[in-house]
Symmetry: C2
Subunit: 348 residues, 2 copies
């Protein structure tokens, strides 16, 4: 697959959403806001303002386009866009504590800079703020914002349900670490929760605010979920065979960390002496270079690479098919399709 | 003040709310539910069922009575009761991680038994489930539950706003630990957030579901907030001068832990050499028995004990006065008054 150019929709949505995101974050208390602004890349470790470079804004773009694709103006998607971005960042901040990761995108993580307690509270505050923004859009849009209580209630339920699925995925992932092997289906379930649930929410929440019919909302949810599964399958492939120059990680990075990802669980599911050897390798505390390379070879020869590649392709096809069922606005549908390729088609 | 008998309303509400709470918890994933059931006192460390003894159920009782006091049937208050109990327990689980506490009510805390990662996810899941229950009461009440989207939206906003205030209070408390002194007003703000906000929500959320007018909701919110402030002021007094046989903690417990509570901040606010001596004592890493006793003496002689006692009395009066403004149902108002005395009038 080829590297895609950054789609124009990302820049357009960022212009629309970033002021609303900043307005929402500004309501956090003086004790919480600095760690959140640091995490979002708005300030450095000393609190000095930074220019540019937050995340890619994929979830906000999905949210805004999901309003447009059912025929509503972009602004209808903004509260949802802000909310999913806040909840995404809640999960990153807590995940870093849970995983003990000291760096994210070449910067210290919140807990490693502000302490574990501050990071837990910052995450809690972002999760809560995500709900507040949906139920009271004035927090993001300013005092003139209208509230449709029924739409807000449906959107908040969608976000809460997705967050619950994400939490469940995180708990399952945490449990995987203590297990010798995980089945391919468990791995898919975990990735559907941890990665798919919030992308699914993002891809539908603007349509919910737009008052779209349930079948369009369902189709967009499926689009987002399948997109998430495709993204994660590719991410798992890159985690083993990605070019270190592109990923910024060492070769076979996920195998060094004993991660039970899709290619690994597929290889183990193949069974036989090769699978036994792979499980034994991954159970070792510390792997030598030779062992890491041998593990990668085993995952490939047992068909793990091929199955994960096939999973990515099939999920992407399902995503794009679902999109065909929800396109009142062909232009926005085209932008969603372009965004989907940008998310999934990465070099590996 | 005298110890009150346990009010009948607590038992009545428990009968109504506990099945709904259990139904809600049952939707958590297999990886999350065990730690939550353990935390709630439903199972022991091995997962074996325990009988009885969850918490007192004060927040659920406030929620149900707040529906009744505006003239609605008790069942209207149940989703709110379940939600505030879930969010209360989210905060306990995360607080224990943040404070590094290994025991709560003579049992191991969730993080000390299941690990920090599992405790963070369990808390996140309860916070999320609290929102889900309000937006989709069928989770607590079963599939026949009706949903009034507008009422659910208002209740969810109330809960999210209260949770945000609670998070802010927690962050402020965390910051106090790193400071030499805190002002009396800052201490009140912290306690209003950390303790008052969720009690305020509990005391009004049933009325919101009942569709009560805004002035009744506001009066009940004020009742809950002031009740929380009174409770916390008493708790702070007990934390220093409580009878070890009753509190289960050593004498002067909060001073041993250098906690900057209401009596301490009031004493420091008095200024002069006594306040300087107190601040110096509390800045010491480890206090001897003589130093602890001297600190308690200073807090008392500087008027900290008297001011916190006066604060408790004044807050309780405000709480009961607010209740007079929101009483369509005198019987329920009587039960709320009885509950308020039960919460605040403890031996010290």
């Amino acid at each position: 697959m080829a590297v895609s150019e950054s789609p124009a929709s990302l820049g357009r949505v960022r212009m629309l959403v970033e002021p609303a995101l900043r307005r929402a974050v500004s309501v956090l208390s003086d004790e919480i806001r600095p760690s959140v602004e640091y995490h979002l890349g708005w300030v450095d470790e000393t609190g000095a303002r930074l220019v540019g470079d937050g995340g890619k804004g994929i979830r906000p773009a999905l949210a805004v386009l999901s309003a447009e694709v059912v025929g509503a103006p972009a602004v209808i998607g903004v509260p949802g866009a802000v909310a999913v971005e806040l909840v995404h960042n809640f999960s990153l901040i807590h995940d870093d504590v849970i995983d003990g990761d000291t760096e994210r995108r070449h910067r210290k993580t919140v807990w490693s800079l502000f302490g574990i307690g501050a990071a837990i509270v910052a995450g809690d505050a972002l999760l809560t703020l995500g709900q507040q923004v949906l139920l009271n859009p004035a927090i993001a849009l300013g005092p003139s914002a209208d509230v449709d209580l029924a739409a807000a209630s449906k959107a908040a339920r969608l976000l809460a349900d997705s967050t619950a699925a994400m939490n469940a995925g995180q708990a399952l992932d945490l449990q995987f670490e203590r297990r010798r092997s995980v089945s391919y289906e468990e791995c898919l379930t975990m990735e559907g929760g941890k990665t798919g649930a919030l992308l699914s929410c993002a891809a539908a929440i603007g349509a919910v605010f737009a008052g779209a019919d349930q079948s369009s909302v369902d189709a967009l949810s499926t689009f987002g979920l399948q997109l998430g599964l495709a993204f994660q399958a590719v991410d798992d492939l890159l985690g083993i065979w990605g070019d270190p120059d592109t990923t910024g990680k060492p070769t076979f990075a996920d195998l060094r960390q004993h991660k039970k990802t899709l290619p690994v669980s597929a290889a183990i599911a193949a069974g036989g002496p090769g699978a036994e050897e792979l499980m034994a390798l991954l159970a070792d505390e510390e792997l030598s270079e030779t062992q890491v390379a041998r593990a990668a070879e085993l995952v490939e020869s047992l068909g793990g690479r091929e199955r994960a590649t096939e999973e990515a392709r099939r999920s992407m096809e399902s995503a794009l098919r679902a999109l065909d069922d929800a396109s009142a606005n062909p232009e926005a549908a085209g932008e969603l399709r372009e965004l989907a390729h940008f998310i999934v088609d990465r070099q590996f």
